[in-house]
């Protein structure tokens, strides 16, 4: 058995950690590239959204490299994303690729647990007693690495707008991530995080700069993966903006296991509540949260909001219409970026530059 998973953001790092620690053979999909997208787009319905195509491309490349078991998170309707796992399964089967599939349930319900039990029945036969014994430890390592990746990314988002040499944060952050990826024990992981944080903090910075504060909201795959959003987080940072986002793997996992009322995910409940002034029901996916977050960010004194969505994404198309009004009502500039297959990096750069200049104008800096 060789498991594989989406490359998405830092997901490949912590999924690999789970498999590695539990001693289960794995294949990390090759870094998402133009080839990944070409493969994904070729084999999927033309109308489907960009994240779907990217993730499908990851799976095809991993299967071609010899993986035979795919682990994918499921989610729920009404958005097409909720059917990702089901549709991707059919496509891969039609392509004649052989593999086993394991869906990680989006919500812990009895039905999901039963489905999971059925799917893992066969797989468990192939696992050794040692694998099963080490699995909880693997999960724990995976969680630790995920938190490490998130902490490093948050730090990178903070230092990037103050960097003196453009692109330096990005290089150092990638270096730090590779240290985290390489750590095999809790102790080395702790060391890697410490070293990575120091690497970022010790970078030459202009501390006198007061960067604009912008929140990135929108469809979660698009927000979390720089290949899908064409590096919006990095581009904004390098234009001198301190970026914040609340879509992280940990937030979504905590929400799935119904931990949201307790701690970290409570912020999202707050956003959801705030959206009620405009939306009286849950549209699904991140729609309500995108709207609520924009409102609250305005109250918190943020300078702007960048809203990311894949072309033709239903919940976020709904959100973008409402965000137009939110921007006016709350006097906060909101830029919606629609992403699709085309190479629109230049266009995104143009829009982000103009957006930042608009913020400067608003503040009376220019």
């Amino acid at each position: 058995m060789k498991v594989t998973f989406p490359h998405l953001g830092s997901m490949h790092i912590f999924c690999k950690a789970i498999a590695e620690t539990a001693g289960i053979p794995y294949i990390v999909p090759p870094e998402t590239s133009r080839k990944t997208l070409t493969l994904g787009a070729l084999h999927s319905n033309e109308c489907i959204c960009l994240p779907f195509k990217m993730i499908l491309g990851n799976f095809i490349e991993a299967l071609q490299k010899g993986a035979d078991t795919i682990v994918m998170v499921g989610s729920g309707p009404p958005c097409r994303l909720g059917l990702y796992d089901l549709v991707q399964k059919v496509i891969l089967e039609d392509m004649g690729l052989h593999y086993r599939w394991l869906t990680i349930p989006p919500r812990l319900t009895w039905r999901a647990i039963w489905k999971n039990h059925e799917e893992t029945k066969e797989l468990r036969k192939e696992l050794s007693a040692k694998n099963i014994f080490l699995f909880p430890y693997g999960l724990w390592m995976g969680w630790k690495k995920m938190m490490a990746c998130e902490a490093l990314e948050k730090l990178a988002m903070k230092v990037r707008p103050r960097e003196i040499s453009k692109g330096e944060t990005q290089r150092r952050w990638r270096q730090a991530l590779s240290w985290v990826d390489g750590a095999k024990t809790p102790k080395t992981l702790e060391g890697a995080v410490k070293k990575g944080k120091t690497l970022l903090q010790e970078m030459e910075q202009d501390h006198s700069r007061i960067p604009f504060k912008v929140a990135i909201v929108g469809e979660l795959y698009t927000v979390m993966d720089p290949h899908i959003n064409r590096g919006v987080e990095q581009k904004l940072g390098e234009l001198g903006v301190e970026v914040t986002r609340t879509s992280w793997f940990s937030t979504h996992i905590l929400r799935s296991v119904r931990q949201n009322k307790a701690n970290q995910a409570s912020e999202r409940i707050r956003f959801f509540e705030a959206s009620k002034a405009y939306l009286d029901y849950d549209v699904g996916a991140e729609c309500n949260v995108s709207i609520g977050e924009a409102i609250l960010r305005s109250k918190e004194g943020y300078d702007g909001v960048v809203h990311l969505m894949p072309f033709a994404c239903m919940p976020e198309t709904t959100a973008s219409g409402i965000l137009n009004k939110v921007g006016k009502d709350w006097d906060i500039p909101i830029l919606t970026l629609i992403l699709d297959e085309q190479e629109i990096e230049g266009r995104i750069q143009t829009l982000l530059e103009a957006f930042v200049e608009m913020l400067e104008w608003k503040k009376g800096v220019a």
Binding site: R34, K35, T36, G321, I338, Q349, L351, E353, E357, M358
Partner: protein, 318 residues
């Protein structure tokens, strides 16, 4: 203060202007790229130089438009600015009380919302190029009429046909149907103008507050059919600046003037005499397979871009 050069290289046309002491337009050129932006930039420089009598000293160069980086490498620009800001700057000086700018170019359409001379909101088409000049161009060619005559022809229509406005690719299907059941060319052309305007207002203009005075600029502002259709939809008359076709270039020149340069990077007008070309290759170092571009001037590599990892750019510096 001196003279400043502004170059706006869009996807379809290249615009160049020289602004004099008091920001007056000393020379301007508007030419089609025909897919060869480098030649177009060289030709544009030649044209503006000829208009000022063959010699002028330039104190700064600003570039804008989707090929602003290419243009900057080529001419040696002092300032590279996105086209949204460039257009806004040009309008703020021309009509300080302007509240909305509609800019429709070859491949781009934008809306810029101004309040008290400051940009407060903007929109630009991203993944879709519908509702732009190139669609009109294409249809004009298909109907065998010149794009210059297109707008006036639309004004002669008695009953503009209704054409689906959701997407111009779909609109074409609709349009051919109307043509085959016998509608006159004038009515179809007028219908096309209406459809493009609706598309623009629905996509780019959606949710934006379009208050008067509204300035209409960009290449398509020459099209009176579109102007009338916009005025009908918005129920206001539009202000079209004298230099509507080169406003981006004017903005770029103004911005570089404001930057108060010490010394310009401009390579000089003799650039037009040099052999300039680009050479592309596909890098095979990783899966990204970047298409890397090198700019050659008199057979020497002077700039390089397109490499995501920047390995070639750095090699060149080293």
């Amino acid at each position: 203060m001196g003279n400043y050069l502004g170059i706006d290289v869009g996807s379809i046309t290249t615009k160049s202007v020289i602004l004099g002491q008091d920001d007056q337009v000393l020379a301007k050129s508007y030419i089609r790229n025909s897919g060869r932006p480098i030649e177009a930039i060289q030709k544009g420089l030649e044209e503006v130089l000829a208009q000022v009598g063959g010699s002028i000293s330039i104190h700064g160069v600003g570039t804008t438009g989707s090929a602003r980086h290419l243009a900057a490498y080529l001419v040696g620009a002092d300032l590279i600015k996105n086209e949204i800001t460039a257009h806004a700057i040009a309008v703020v000086d021309f009509l300080p009380e302007a509240k909305t700018i509609i800019e429709i170019g070859g491949q781009d359409s934008k809306i810029i919302v101004l309040r008290n001379g400051v940009v407060v909101d903007f929109g630009m088409n991203t993944v879709c190029a519908a509702g732009t000049g190139s669609f009109l161009d294409q249809q004009a060619t298909r109907l065998g009429i010149s794009i210059e005559a297109f707008g006036d022809l639309a004004l002669q229509a008695d009953h503009p046909v209704r054409i689906a406005g959701r997407c111009t690719v779909f609109a074409e299907t609709d349009m051919i149907h109307k043509q085959q059941i016998g509608h006159s060319v004038e009515d179809i052309v007028a219908g096309l103008c209406d459809s493009l305007v609706k598309n623009y207002l629905n996509n780019v203009g959606r949710g934006k507050e379009m208050l008067s005075p509204i300035v209409f600029q960009g290449g398509v502002a020459a099209n009176r059919g579109i102007q009338k259709a916009l005025e009908r939809e918005l129920e206001v008359s539009l202000v079209i600046p004298k230099h509507f076709d080169v406003m981006g270039a004017i903005g770029a020149a103004k911005l570089v003037k404001r930057a108060n340069l010490f010394k310009t990077q401009f390579r000089g007008f003799d650039l037009t005499q040099k052999s300039c070309s680009t050479r592309g290759f596909e890098c095979s170092e990783c899966e990204n397979q970047c298409e890397v571009i090198e700019l050659l001037m008199n057979h020497h590599v002077v700039a390089c871009w397109g490499d995501l990892c920047e390995r070639y750019r750095h090699r060149e510096k080293a």
